[in-house]
Symmetry: C2
Subunit: 681 residues, 2 copies
């Protein structure tokens, strides 16, 4: 690393916490069209002001990472030209250099060399996603997953033994949870840890190939230790999944006795990360290897935990690892920004077909279809950014102990799961559309999309498969985190909901609160949609809330009816699954829009506020348009209004057109990270 | 290549042509629910019979290619492990070996060592898409683009000079049309070919970097000659774009004087194909270098062509190259089959979460959502396959001279463009969904999706950007190929439509024929949707036809109105562009459904017919569901019926479930091409 590397000690500490609050609509007194102020004009924005808005309280952290990205921009080329063995070493070296700057340790306690600020650590990670994503994921594995597990599941002794070394990068580790046979259903992992009171050791065993640890980052090459998740067995009883620190390799990198590791080989992308498989053949570790924050085993073999329910215990452990999901969601959103920056700049350079006989060919970005393809994605990227800011703020508050109630923790987990799902799907879709919008040029590796696509593709299924994550969100919505929540599998959910009156479900889920807020804006009767303009953000929010409430209640009703009709719970779940997931989707969409609207409302008057209101409208209307069939089917959209929304989107796109370049410049992506010499000029 | 390679001489000639006719609905006497015979049962199908149905008249050709694929299955690994320089050589060697088998020459005249059967050549190419796609694309470049240009644009002399060598693979060439600055608007290419009567030579020149040939397959390394498209200038007049054979390299592979070539470097995928850029610095070629089937220059410099209109001349030249688009569409559809086969087989092995407390975990494919994600894509793959069979048959008839009228040629071009667009988008979408449906396992290169995704990604933008291709389709629909058709750019189109009465447009476009056929099934009045069942294929077709007619008329009206309102044609086009493209999309969707319905109707009664009818229903209803907002907005779908369609799709998916594996086995993909040892077993 060059001497230019910026060290965080040069950065002043972040200002007073300023996490944006979830918006509360102004109620019936809201002025219709409020966010549509100055509606027919394209504002002239200050790019720096928008960057400051986006960067938020961690602007200096983000600038530090931007500066560091510039010092090893060559890694983007190395990712293509080095073979994967060499590239893994290259990436490891960069990660160690980053560790030396402190950038990667911001989330750890200061006494172990960290920065003591979870929020800063998320901001740093997100910004790292502007660069090579193998570096990002290797950082995530080492400091987020491995380091996070030691920090969150371990106790003082583990912290003292491991944290300083791992923060410095002197001890590399991996997070061995997933198995070939179990990725989403981790409660059913096959690896066993049996306590042997005679020697006061745990014996770690892989009973069959389905239970081998798989896709484990850092395992194939660099990890010296692993945090291994295994079924704890004490005195013949099974106590559920717990985490253990298990040494894998000696100082020279050779596997220790009883450890077998196989390389997962080449992947679609992220080939700078060494994923592998691990088998344990009766590997013995000391009693202290158990990460014992939530449960312990006494020397003579008595299992002890303050949390009685095994389900709740397991969810509590998993819950502390929520940071990984928050980080992946943010990374996906930032990768989408890179793609949009390139595609929009290309659309402002590339001409195609004559606009009139005596003019040069027309710019791509002046075509209505091109605007339609890119601008709603740009608007949604801003929306997702602000939603991510909210969840990162909540993560900071919960993890730093500023917020302690259990319900807030469950809500954070649900919000993290939902934002991760929508953010990573958004990345996949946006990068694809941007690639196609650059034609053949977008296919050349030098133009960045090859790596962006390949590297981000796994985001939708790692750190939780997106569909399974939305199921988790739905479970919370349908049960309002009832006391049995953590012990409920999908069949338990069906039985739970079936056992309640639908009204009770509706009450429990707090959708009645949504209903209250809808009623003010969308009164009943045939002329409800005459009341508010489509550019009124209260109208938009009411529509999102109506959909959510209706889908949750509807899913509850269908689950109940299925059981009442005598169907097996598994069959009921299978049939209602898309509805359940749709309800979760609608919930997260509502949170995203609320975050964007709240952000806009909190801004001082000015051109930037006009621009953000414009984008917020474009996002809201695009989302309504995409699901307008549902609103038409459910009597909440007239044909006339549905068509008006489509027309308005075209008009909003034309207004975004003059500020499109400013809107992507505001992401402040270091030019070297864009590459694309022929595309962005 | 091993001695097992199967040679086409071992294959008996295809039977009597049996190209499926475009269906004519049976009219008002049709029995509602006809294709839904035996509606609530899952049929038991014979896999071999389905394979025979899919393979059609070229079953033996397809089996030959399957056998050949098996002989070099190692190339799938090589694609990952070799550096791209070595892999390019490996792919070239395979292409030469394939040429030696005759498989790649089936479309050339027998007198030059070809097979004399265009249809067979398309079938062979499509099947090759089960294997490594660099091999496929290199074959396409050499025999389709380069060879096709010599064959279709050249005359006897060119054929005698080049064809035998290129069919054998002794002469490798490239197709140098695209330039950095011009991909879609090829009429505006910058490369110049100026006739010098003094020496009776053409002087080929690249005036600036925007006019360098770019992304040209075979150019970076292997091509010895190029077919170069350039603006012909004779005696100071510009005669438009023409094609010239230009030598690039000597026998040793060194660039000839005046030729500069640069490597395009690494790409997202297809790294076994050597794409490059070419500059011409006053390169002189003989007068005979002009491929002169449609135009010639006399020795003393007089330009002669039987086709007076420059636009028509250019479109006639381009039209002869339609085979490339037909081939790419078919390749995309077959790549989707590979992805579906892997994902569906994985869904039948992988278990996740308990279905009931005393049962093993549930198979992925038994989840309603998993079925919903994969089965409509499977149904659409069958639909696209049969639509592809129709366009390949029409290509065969036109190119073999069995059909000669100009209108049929224009319709073939439009159909090829549309099928290519929908087929390649379908590939991108299907491969993505299948990857995600395999979770983390789908991300490992050994499990095939990495290459499938990366290699097929460019299909949506090469051989014509899909959006531009749909614009071409729309132009044909809106003008019914008026005599001015070929001279019309997008602004000409606007002016042309604006100059007609809307009724005239509707009449010209023959949408009135559609209307006639709709009226019988969808009578007016409020209860029209009571008349026919949603599983009645006549009802489904009428819905598709209604949408097409309505969108074409609507686009025409909007173009007219824009001009009437005094907007500039460019602005009118920009605003109506998404509508215009939507109309083309609706048109092609209708052709696809008609192809599937016709196929089913022509089948003898039996289990396979029941299965195909089931898939056809699933395809039709999924397409209606995806666009149900439009039908709701246009009064052609009641809310009740819209919801009934959604319910029916769930029910159809459950009926497809028991035969899902048979339906993918029917694709008969050689097991070695699936790889995925842990996924498909």
């Amino acid at each position: 690393m060059s001497a230019d590397t910026v060290h965080p000690s040069a950065v002043s500490p972040p200002a007073v916490p300023d996490v944006p609050a979830v918006p509360t609509g102004p109620g019936p007194s809201a002025v219709p069209g409020e966010t549509g102020t100055d509606a027919r004009r394209s504002p002239a924005v200050d790019v720096g002001a928008l960057t400051a808005l986006l960067d938020g309280r961690y602007a200096e952290v983000r600038d530090l990472v931007r500066a560091n990205l510039d010092t090893w921009s060559g890694v983007l080329e190395d990712a293509e030209t080095m073979d994967h063995h060499a590239f893994r070493e290259r990436v490891k070296d960069i990660v160690l250099e980053l560790a030396a700057t402190g950038q990667t340790g911001m989330g750890f306690p200061e006494e172990y060399g960290g920065g003591g600020d979870i929020g800063a650590s998320v901001a740093a990670f997100e910004t790292l996603a502007y660069g090579d994503l193998s570096v990002l994921v290797k950082v995530g594995v080492q400091f987020g997953l491995f380091g996070g597990a030691i920090l969150q599941l371990g106790t003082r002794e583990h912290h003292d033994r491991y944290l300083a070394d791992l923060v410095r990068g002197d001890l590399l580790g991996c997070f061995a949870m997933t198995e070939t046979g179990h990725g989403s259903n981790v409660q059913a992992l096959g690896t066993r840890a049996t306590y042997d009171p005679a020697t006061q050791e745990f014996v770690i065993t892989t009973p069959d190939d389905g239970a081998r640890k798989d896709y484990i980052g850092n395992a194939a090459r660099h990890a010296r230790v692993a945090v291994v998740f295994a079924q704890l067995e004490v005195g013949g009883s099974s106590e559920g999944v717990h985490a253990f620190v298990v040494p894998l390799r000696d100082e020279q990198g050779a596997c220790l006795p009883g450890i077998r590791i196989e390389d997962d080989g080449l992947k679609m992308g992220l080939n700078g990360v060494d994923n592998g498989r691990i088998w344990f053949d009766d590997v013995r570790v000391s009693r202290e290897a158990l990460l014992n924050r939530f449960a312990d085993v006494t020397p003579d073999g008595v299992y002890e935990s303050a949390i009685e329910s095994p389900g709740r215990r397991f969810f509590t452990m998993l819950g502390t690892l929520v940071q990984g999901r928050v980080c992946v969601g943010g990374a996906g959103i930032n990768a989408a920004k890179v793609a949009l920056t390139i595609a929009i700049k290309y659309g402002l350079r590339r001409r195609q077909f004559e606009a009139s006989s005596d003019a040069p060919e027309e710019l791509l970005l002046d075509y209505g279809l091109h605007q339609r393809r890119l601008f709603p994605l740009l608007a949604r990227t801003y929306a997702m950014h602000f939603a991510q800011e909210v969840v990162a703020g909540q993560l900071h508050d919960v993890t730093s102990g500023l917020v302690t109630d259990e319900h807030a923790k469950r809500e954070l987990e649900a919000r993290a799961a939902g934002t991760k799902a929508l953010g990573t799907w958004h990345a996949t879709r946006t990068i694809q559309e941007c690639r196609e919008a650059c034609g053949g040029a977008g296919y050349l590796a030098v133009n960045r999309f090859a790596a962006l696509k390949a590297d981000t593709d796994v985001f939708t299924t790692f750190e939780g498969d997106n569909h399974v994550l939305l199921q988790l969100v739905a479970k919370g919505l349908l049960t309002d985190y009832a006391s049995e929540f953590e012990d409920m599998d999908q069949l338990g959910l069906v039985r739970f909901v079936a056992g309640l009156a639908v009204e009770t479900v509706v009450e429990r889920t707090r959708v009645h609160q949504l209903l209250e807020r809808i009623k003010d804006v969308l009164p009943g009767g045939d002329d409800w949609d005459q009341e508010a303009g489509i550019l009124d953000s209260d109208y938009q929010l009411a529509m999102f809330r109506f959909r959510e409430e209706h889908m949750i209640s509807g899913a509850a009703r269908r689950l109940k009816r299925g059981m009442d009709d005598g169907m097996a719970p598994g069959e009921v779940f299978s049939r209602v699954q898309d509805h359940v997931i749709g309800a979760a989707h609608a919930h997260v969409e509502r949170l995203v829009l609320e975050a964007f609207v709240a952000k806009v409302r909190a801004m001082p008057e000015g051109e930037e506020k006009v621009a953000m209101a414009l984008l917020c409208d474009l996002h809201a209307l695009s989302a309504l348009e995409a699901d307008r069939a549902w609103f038409l089917e459910h009597g909440r959209l007239s044909v006339a209004r549905s068509k008006a929304i489509t027309r308005e989107i075209g008009s909003l796109c034309r207004r975004v057109r003059p500020l499109a370049e400013d809107l992507v410049d505001a992401f402040a992506i270091p030019p070297a990270m864009l590459r694309s010499p022929d595309l962005v000029g």
